[in-house]
């Protein structure tokens, strides 16, 4: 059985394409708790993060943080020469910064997935995509989680 050949280290040794205008270094990104930054660094290393090609769709205001729709799509031709290898989603204020990581490949045809996740509080969510040329692309979304009135105690 073949698996999708995509590890972070493979990519880190690859080219670091520099699009200066859209370049975003983590140091200059908006302030986030250290755990979120560490989790992102664990994936991208020292590579720069570019904005623009990742679309992260989350409702801006959710009535219950237990089940929040998440939709990530990366603008990519998804060919053997140019495709998305992995997509990672992180959060800022849950107990753990990782939400989900997926492995794709040119075989996907379209670099998009959806799921539903938990948000413990109003916070920022970050998606990072790793492309076959070794570049990393990102998008952020701010989500307001409203406070539930009638919660049931855990028995």
């Amino acid at each position: 059985m073949r698996t999708i050949p995509a590890t972070r280290r493979d990519v880190l040794t690859g080219a670091t394409a520099l699009g200066a205008a859209t370049l975003l270094r983590l140091e200059t990104a908006q302030a986030t708790p250290a755990s979120l930054e560490a989790a992102i660094r664990d994936v991208v290393g020292e590579a720069p993060l570019k904005e623009g090609r990742v679309k992260l769709a989350i409702p801006p205001l959710v009535e219950n943080g237990n089940t929040v729709p998440l939709d990530v799509e990366v603008d990519s031709l998804m060919t053997a020469a140019d495709h998305v290898r992995t997509i990672h989603v992180f959060n800022e204020k849950n107990p753990q910064p990782n939400v989900i990581s997926v492995k794709l490949g040119p075989r996907a045809g379209r670099a998009r997935f959806t799921t539903r996740f938990r948000l413990a509080d109003t916070q920022t969510v970050v998606a990072v995509a790793e492309l076959s040329d070794g570049t990393f692309h990102t998008a952020r979304a701010n989500v307001i989680v409203t406070i539930a009135a009638c919660v049931e105690e855990l028995g």
Partner: protein
């Protein structure tokens, strides 16, 4: 319910003619009843509308499997008596609780399923709120989706509907609240940031995001009572069934949404 007068002014070629039109308050244009569905976010509505995305489908599918699975000493399945649920169960959940002549009082759908289990299948009753009971209830309820609720049509239910109304309006618990204080007098406002619904149980059993699971109307009512700091009535008790009956009867004519998704 109050009737309201609506004045329509019509223009004719010969001059102004005033026409008074009396509209019945029960007509669709003046029905102010709302399902919580109407006030949910687009995302949660989408989750309910698409069977593939609705987590309650996991229970509905289990219920479909249970429907045709022989059980108990009798080794009979629901289907052995009731056949294809798509036909035989159409509209059934939409009329529950119904009047049970043998017991002289109303009976909810869960109790009816368990009655069948004990007497026909000769199997032990499902525990309240158990996965199998919720699954069968959701599967039976799914067959009424989109159909109008008809609960309370039977005149023998009238005194029980009234008993449910009295419980609904009675202050109880340490907070000295009644159901009606929130769900009649303050419906549409917010408690914390949650919308207070009108209490029309159109989609039970529901997948409640708060629960991260499917749950019955009884669970929701008991949950509410705990919030009022009142001692919750037991599931299946006369009081809970009367409340369920009253709430379903006042949702009469509204569309069944089972299995609904709620925040």
């Amino acid at each position: 319910m109050r009737s309201i007068d609506i004045v329509l002014r019509c223009v004719s070629t010969s001059g102004f003619v005033l026409m008074l039109v009396l509209l019945d308050s029960l007509s669709a244009t003046t029905d102010t009843r709302r399902s919580t569905y109407d006030d949910m976010s687009r995302d949660i509505r989408a989750m309910q509308d698409d069977d593939m995305a609705n987590p309650a489908s996991l229970w509905v599918n289990d219920g479909a499997a249970l429907w045709s699975q022989p059980a108990g000493a009798a080794q009979m399945s629901c289907a052995d008596c009731h056949g294809d649920a798509a036909t035989s169960m159409k509209g059934v959940a939409a009329r529950y609780p119904v009047f049970d002549a043998a017991r002289g009082k109303p009976v909810g759908l869960e109790a009816r399923i368990n009655h069948c289990r004990k007497t026909r299948q000769q199997a032990p009753a499902f525990a309240p709120e158990s996965r199998d009971l919720l699954a069968l209830t959701a599967f039976v309820g799914r067959q009424s989706r989109g159909l109008p609720i008809t609960t309370g049509d039977d005149p023998r239910l009238a005194p029980f509907v009234e008993a449910g109304r009295m419980i609904f309006e009675r202050r109880q618990g340490q907070l000295n609240l009644s159901c009606a204080i929130c769900h009649d007098h303050n419906a549409g406002k917010r408690l914390a940031s949650a919308l207070i619904p009108q209490a029309h149980p159109t989609g039970y059993p529901i997948y409640r995001l708060e629960w991260q699971s499917l749950g019955s109307l009884a669970r929701r009512l008991r949950n509410c009572m705990a919030g009022m700091r009142a001692a919750p009535y037991a599931t299946g008790s006369d009081e809970i069934v009367a409340l369920e009956l009253f709430l379903m009867a006042r949702a009469r004519g509204m569309a069944t949404e089972t299995p609904a998704v709620r925040p």
